[in-house]
Symmetry: C2
């Protein structure tokens, strides 16, 4: 008993109630994604280590869980595998590996856990689910529009009304950095700092930008641009390189009219997104009562090329399942039915001789469509009732000696306490009917 | 492009068709388990390494994937976490950790991947799914009966008719080993060898038993007992210790009458099961055309005690998802609907000006309950048709200039080639109706 029975730091056990909530959300996510023509894909939990290293920046490399080589190599401490850090890099590998099997416009969804050796904190875990959609093969704004529309439909169906989706374009940020005379070599670093604007504020970002070697006058121009759309437009409008990306953003906004995303999406110059692989439109969802985002995504037209040897346009969106569940739980957004117990009825055991009757009755009730638990052993009836009650099972079925002699079953309604004796053939229908109307 | 794009050795990428097949089987498994009152549970992919080490025997220890400590410890080669090797040990940990929250009779199902660094071979993977049910807290034969019944119902619903479930009891095997004068210290080793009887035959097992230090006369007695039920009974019947286990087995067999398992379960003396933690009834499913089993399980009344400090009765059954899928695929057992493509209809793009129309039409059709793909960019109509055809999308919707002017949509049936123009409001219902009847 020296072993701790807690799950490892930063991970969680999901007890039945937790799973039911998660499965409810996943059910909505999956059905909407399928409605939009996305197809399911799953990849292994671990990848060859070189598949992941170098894809997420220096910080990312450190947060990757690495797996020891097996057998004789185990003692060398060498790692040859690593746990999936996101669902995007594995997708890029899959697109390269199965290029001849996959359609020209491959649209997949993937709902799987990822692992990051982050410092655990409230709402930040080392194992968490991502729900991703990605569209491979087209540069058309229809791709972003369909993704924004699908994500909005999911949020609406889950009961969110107050979410906003910020939209920006990496090329516009580059134009701004250029206009502010930030050297191209520092653009990546600058974006990582700018991405924290909502989190650490104007002063925090100023400090970080200066610390990363950017001149104070340049920093000043950037921050003015980032906090006002009109200043941003003024600053980047002179740049030829900004014209096409700005048109792409406007096209997306225009096409969203009449879709579930209408009214929720806005162009926000300060949106930067941390990941280094984005190349075009970037998007992020937030709700007022959650620091951080419910999800985000963007275009990454070069990542597939790192595996395939030629670039393929790609755009994706990832929903954070844990954060959605946190907000829904805090706001009480789960339908009552999601909390349902483990059974519609529990069959009691009258005595040792009636085990067979109990098992067969359970079978009949299951054939009648009910979820049926069987108290596993003979026990005082009062104790069995108490157990059913503690488990929130709404009905209990009893086949005592009298019932057995008459081909009957007594049914106790655990909410009202009422008990009645019914012909055995009528029990399943009675319970189904009474459950529906109560 | 030096990185291989294959998944790691022994693992697989699951493309859409694979996922659909798997989700179909998981759907049946889950719905039957829930019908039997089992509740969902999930645990983290990795456990603290000491949770797993020493639970699966020496062979098992070697097959556990170990994860390097993070940060400054990474270079020491020390591992502090390990990937889940099965779902039973994590369950035992969970039962100990949440003893005050869980019901007295905790019945859970768990459908998650496990990882074993086995040598990859046909049908043997390093990442594979287990579908487990376990019942904690009761020694009653109702537990085994309900599990055997649930598993049989799953197999029947999936279309299996020819499966058999072997049933034995570890205490009967112990009695046999005792009767054959095998020293108690060698019982564990002997069972590991006996477990291979179907795989390596009588001679192979004889050799292994002798190699493990068991006297040839003892080996001879064991093998006679294992290949004939009546000899087995003769040999163990003198043992008082065999009486209760034998009665337990007979009780289980008796209670199965009238359940979905009836006619499929038989007492088989040679069934041993490899894992060391079994203490009572053991069970294993097989079908004629598959070497190895589709699943198995048994009682393990001491494992929870390794975490909790006091023993708790427990019994579980695990279905091997991969093997079920292999047999179903080879036999063509999947319903045609499982192979369905990614969409019921594809909306074409007439020209750049009609992107918005296409997006809105897609939205309408989705609201009508259809799965809708949108060709993402303007292209020759013939090319768009060809694409839909290659993707097995049965209908294509076109909003050309004429259709737009008339509030109409043209719908092409990709199977018959027939095309007709309908009022826009009627399209979803038309496609749904035509899909159903074709």
């Amino acid at each position: 008993m020296s072993t701790s029975t807690k799950p490892p730091s930063g991970t969680r056990d999901f007890l039945p109630e937790d799973i039911r909530r998660r499965e409810y959300v996943i059910g909505v996510v999956r059905s909407v994604y399928e409605r939009y023509g996305f197809e399911p894909l799953e990849t292994p939990a671990f990848e060859n280590i070189e598949t992941l290293l170098g894809k997420y920046g220096d910080e990312g490399n450190k947060l990757i869980f690495k797996i020891l080589k097996r057998g004789e190599h185990e003692s060398t401490g060498e790692a040859d595998l690593a746990l999936r850090y996101d669902l995007t890099v594995p997708l890029a590998r899959v697109v390269a590996q199965y290029q001849n099997q996959l359609p020209k416009f491959f649209k997949r969804y993937q709902i799987q856990p990822v692992w990051r050796a982050d410092r655990p904190a409230k709402g930040r875990f080392r194992e968490f689910f991502q729900c991703d959609i990605d569209s491979i093969g087209s540069t058309s704004p229809v791709v972003e529009v369909e993704q924004l529309s699908a994500v909005s439909e999911i949020l609406t169906r889950l009961g969110f009304a107050d979410y906003t989706i910020q939209l920006n374009h990496r090329a516009l940020l580059s134009a701004m950095l250029e206009a502010a005379n930030v050297p191209a070599a520092l653009h990546g670093e600058a974006l990582v700092a700018i991405d924290k604007l909502d989190k650490i504020g104007r002063d925090g970002v100023t400090k970080e930008l200066v610390a990363r070697g950017i001149d104070p006058p340049s920093v000043e121009i950037c921050l003015r641009a980032l906090t006002s759309e009109s200043t941003f437009d003024d600053i980047v409008s002179g740049h030829e390189a900004a014209r096409q990306p700005r048109a792409h953003i406007d096209r997306i906004l225009g096409l969203l009219a009449g879709t579930p995303a209408a009214g929720h999406v806005a162009f926000v110059p300060r949106l930067a997104r941390g990941l280094s692989y984005y190349t075009g439109a970037i998007m992020e969802i937030s709700v007022p009562d959650l620091a951080g985002s419910l999800g985000g995504g963007g275009r990454y037209d070069n990542l597939v090329g790192m595996f395939l040897g030629r670039d393929v346009p790609a755009c994706g969106f990832s929903l954070g399942l844990e954060r959605i569940i946190v907000v829904m739980t805090e706001r009480g957004m789960f339908p009552a039915s999601v909390g349902g117990g483990n059974a519609d009825v529990m069959v009691t055991i009258w005595n040792d001789a009636s085990l067979a009757d109990a098992v067969l009755l359970a079978g009949d009730l299951r054939n009648g469509g009910l979820r049926v638990d069987v108290y596993p052993e003979p026990d005082k009836l009062g104790k069995q009732f108490k157990y059913a009650s503690s488990r929130n099972v709404p009905f209990v079925a009893i086949v005592g000696d009298d019932e057995k002699a008459n081909g009957a079953v007594s049914v106790k309604d655990m909410n009202s306490g009422a008990q009645q004796t019914l012909p055995r053939a009528d029990v399943a229908a009675f319970i189904a009917r009474t459950s529906r109307t109560s």
